[in-house]
Amino acid sequence: MIAKALAEEALKVALSSGGDFAEIFCEDSRSNNLNLIAGKLETAQSRRSYGVGIRIFQGTRTVYAYSNDMERASLLDCARQAAAALGSAQTHPQEITLTPSKAAPLHLAKVIPWSVSGAKKVAKLKDAHLAAMSVSSEIAQVQVSLMENDQNILIANSEGLYVSDYRVRTRLSAQVVASNGKENQTGFAAPGASMGFEIFDTMIDPAVVGAQAAHSAVTMLHAPLCPAGMMPVVIEKDFGGVIFHEACGHSLEATSVARGNSVFSGKLGQVIASPLLTAVDEGLMPYGWGSTTIDDEGMTTGYTVLIDKGVLTGYLIDRLGSRRMGMPRTGSGRRQSYQYAPTSRMRNTYIYPGEDDEEEMIATMGDGLFAKDMGGGSVNPVTGEFNFAVREAYLVKDGKIAHAVRGASLIGKGSEIIKKIDRVGRIVGHGPGMCGSASGSVPANCGQPRIRVSEITVGGRQG
């Protein structure tokens, strides 16, 4: 992408106006998207993203510039523009000597997407389609997509770093519409991992994915509306972990914490949650959807314990956050692409296994809600108010699952909800999602064992 000598030259230019740190992020990535509708491949799209971003620091002031052009003249011009934006001081930075390295891969994709024929991929989509259609005569429409991408990155900075990495991700998604002619309901399933096409040998059975989405759609079509109000809620393992992601995770990112905006600012070492709650964020999980060998600032990712038995033990800190907070980085600097400056982001975030029995927590909950499959959500870190959608929910009456209900959402304040976790199950599962924030949309895993929250506001449609 960018040769060492040119990177050295550009970094020197970037530091010519008083900056004390400069960084170059180059990217050449490719994505493929196949979309099967009603059993026929309807669209096939390929995209190549290609560009470079230059970031300069002066203390905690930052400048970011990006361009699609990696030719020498354009790159130096981009560096010059960024430097000019920082100030007019003329400084003479020292020579920069970069030391090339390659990220020691955490996991390697075995079958890169571009080596597999389109026909083989379409066959996988059709397996999912057929399985979905065979679930019920009420299945009105099935849409199956395969998303594959790879990302070649190179990061160079004025501390001498010159490191490259290669990332591959694959995800299959099925969205099924069940209809009775008057009403439509949907079901969704979308597993994915940091893997190539071998994902279909080891992790994803397309028929299972299609059938799962179809069952969910049909179940919801026959479900009455969810009642509204405060009630105990059991949240299933896997992507259920999105509750921690929204309720707590975002508020532990340096972006929120550093300026004192977060409800968790200045609370390290304090009890902030139920003693049953231990939660971690890590980049190292092999093949994890949110894993990266190095973060987008070139640091080897790590394992960050956020909450240990209810005590706040860590934040997610990127390079800028580290300067603002005076605390070490955690390998959490991430960005969607070269078009974004990195910020502190979650990777694979999950609640650690506890010791509670998965069946007991429903049997003893009385009347409440069992949230089996979660959609996405959002949070306002300043107030800690979060919300998220429940894709598949069941009403619990007197400790027994009664029937499915539709249209549920959960809201609350993160700092309050994490104190109300009164059961944590033994078996952790994970689910992939796309997380949107200041540095764009990045793949993030959410995980947890089945947990119970003693009381939470359920948004529904019946008083």
Partner: protein, 451 residues
């Protein structure tokens, strides 16, 4: 290689590779952003990008490929990938590369004067905006975000029929989010303004609006779960319209993903409202003379006094339904159809109500001032929504105390029928993919979940 040479070479290469028709869609963007904190520049960004999307018909099937690298190697890659992709397509629907409409209206979306505003002037404005926001009220504890962003774009559509269209646009946006605190409570609401005339940016007015919105939200409490009548503020109603705009796509209807399949000509909404798409609105931020297939755009009513008069079409969905394209093709993958400046208005001019009249008509209910979780709490296929909500309680026809930690749930298809009155305060949200506008709406019978 110039852009022109690149496009010409690409189309020629496509022809020799066996494409019967081909098209290049080129987009170039320049953008600028500055964010200030405590009077200092906190973040500054200058960017320039260009990308090309190529599509072509190979043996009757449409193949697509896009690239941000625009060099000799990219030409071969685009043609090869598009051909590979075309060969995978099984859908038999007719594909179109359009030869052009008879005429195109002009709509000015580019103000050369705006390009003369220097970075220093934008920085000075951002600093001023932060300063007046901090000074607006003693309860303003800090400014969470204060930024000025501007951008310009140039777009070219060129295809093998000889069609060549280009369009230029620019705009500038200033926005601020104060954090107000009082007695352990916090609130942060945003105000922003987008314009093509820098002189229209008014720092004290923006600061006052953001601070007033934030103070109004301070100390919100849940209200009991109930079925209530609500007034949706214009920005809130417009964001809901935005989230559900795909239900008006003919593609969604044809695929059973919208309940408006076969409903054109029927009453689908309250007779007091009309829904328009006006791509030619002079001050519109999503205005343009042609859609992404090169078809001339047109102003139309999609719902006229409650009756669905048309869905939004591109060439392919129009051919399937035996109608003409409405000029609503959108670029980029599955979102193949989209409105431009899409807004709700009163069906009968003169029947609009003031805010006070709407509150009085509600009597007991809720003014909705904010939704959170629009990314997940709405389902455009079922129409269901359940959203974290803030607002102000309406009692005896007047605004009283702030409300928070409740959800508002309903179904958008039903909501359009539950509208009982339309306000006189049509407002457009900051444009994203398209611009969405709405006046205040009085909606009967939505579900609140709270205490």
């Amino acid at each position: 290689m110039t852009t022109q040479e690149f496009i010409n070479t690409l189309l020629a290469r496509a022809k020799s590779a066996g494409f019967s028709a081909a098209e290049a869609h080129y987009v170039e963007r320049d953008s600028f952003a500055v964010r200030v904190q405590d009077g200092e520049i906190d973040n500054y960004a200058v960017n320039k990008t260009r990308s090309i999307s190529f599509r072509g018909i190979y043996q009757g099937k449409m193949g697509n490929a896009a690239s941000e690298a625009l060099d000799e190697a990219a030409i071969d890659l685009l043609v090869d990938l598009a051909k590979e992709n075309a060969m995978l397509i099984e859908d038999e629907a007719e594909q179109f590369i359009f030869a052009g409409s008879e005429s195109y209206q002009t709509v000015n979306c580019y103000e050369p004067e705006l390009e003369k505003i220097t970075p220093e002037e934008k920085i000075a404005f951002a600093r001023e905006l932060e300063k007046v926001t901090l000074a607006a009220d003693p309860r303003v504890a800090q400014v969470q975000n204060c930024a000025v962003t501007s951008g310009s774009s140039q777009e070219i559509i060129a295809n093998s029929t000889g069609l060549y269209l280009s369009h230029q646009a620019n705009q500038i946006t200033a926005g601020v989010v104060p954090v107000v605190r009082e007695a352990g409570m916090a609130a942060n609401e945003r105000a922003s303004k987008t314009t093509r005339n820098f002189a229209e940016l008014d720092a004290p007015a923006l600061a006052a609006k953001a601070v007033q919105k934030s103070l109004r939200a301070l100390g919100g409490e849940p209200i009991p779960s109930a079925l209530v009548d609500v007034v949706l503020e214009p920005e809130i109603a417009a964001s809901l319209l935005s989230s559900f705009s795909s239900i008006f796509s003919a593609d969604a209807a044809q695929k059973g993903r919208s309940l408006y399949k076969g409903k054109v000509g029927e009453m689908v909404a309250a007779p007091c409202l009309t829904l328009k798409d006006d791509p030619l609105m002079p001050e519109g931020f999503s205005s343009r003379p042609f859609d992404s297939e090169g078809v001339a755009v047109q102003t139309k009513e999609v719902i006229q006094a409650g009756r669905l008069t048309t869905l939004l079409h591109n060439l392919q969905t129009a051919a399937k339904d035996g109608v003409a394209s409405t000029g609503n093709a959108a670029s980029g993958g599955r979102a193949s159809i989209a409105p431009f400046n899409f807004y709700i208005t009163a069906a009968e001019p003169g029947t609009e109500k003031s805010k006070e009249e709407l509150y009085a008509a509600v009597g007991e209910g809720l003014l909705v001032t904010r939704f959170d979780g629009m990314n997940a709490g709405v389902n455009p296929i079922s129409g269901d929504f359940s959203l974290s909500t803030k607002g102000v309680r309406i009692q005896n026809g007047k605004l009283t105390t702030p409300v928070a930690q409740v959800t508002l749930a309903g179904n958008f298809y039903n909501l359009l029928q539950q509208v009982a009155a339309v306000g006189d305060d049509l407002t457009f949200n900051s444009p994203s993919m398209a611009s969405f506008g709405c006046p205040s709406l009085l909606v009967k019978g939505l579900s609140i979940a709270g205490k």
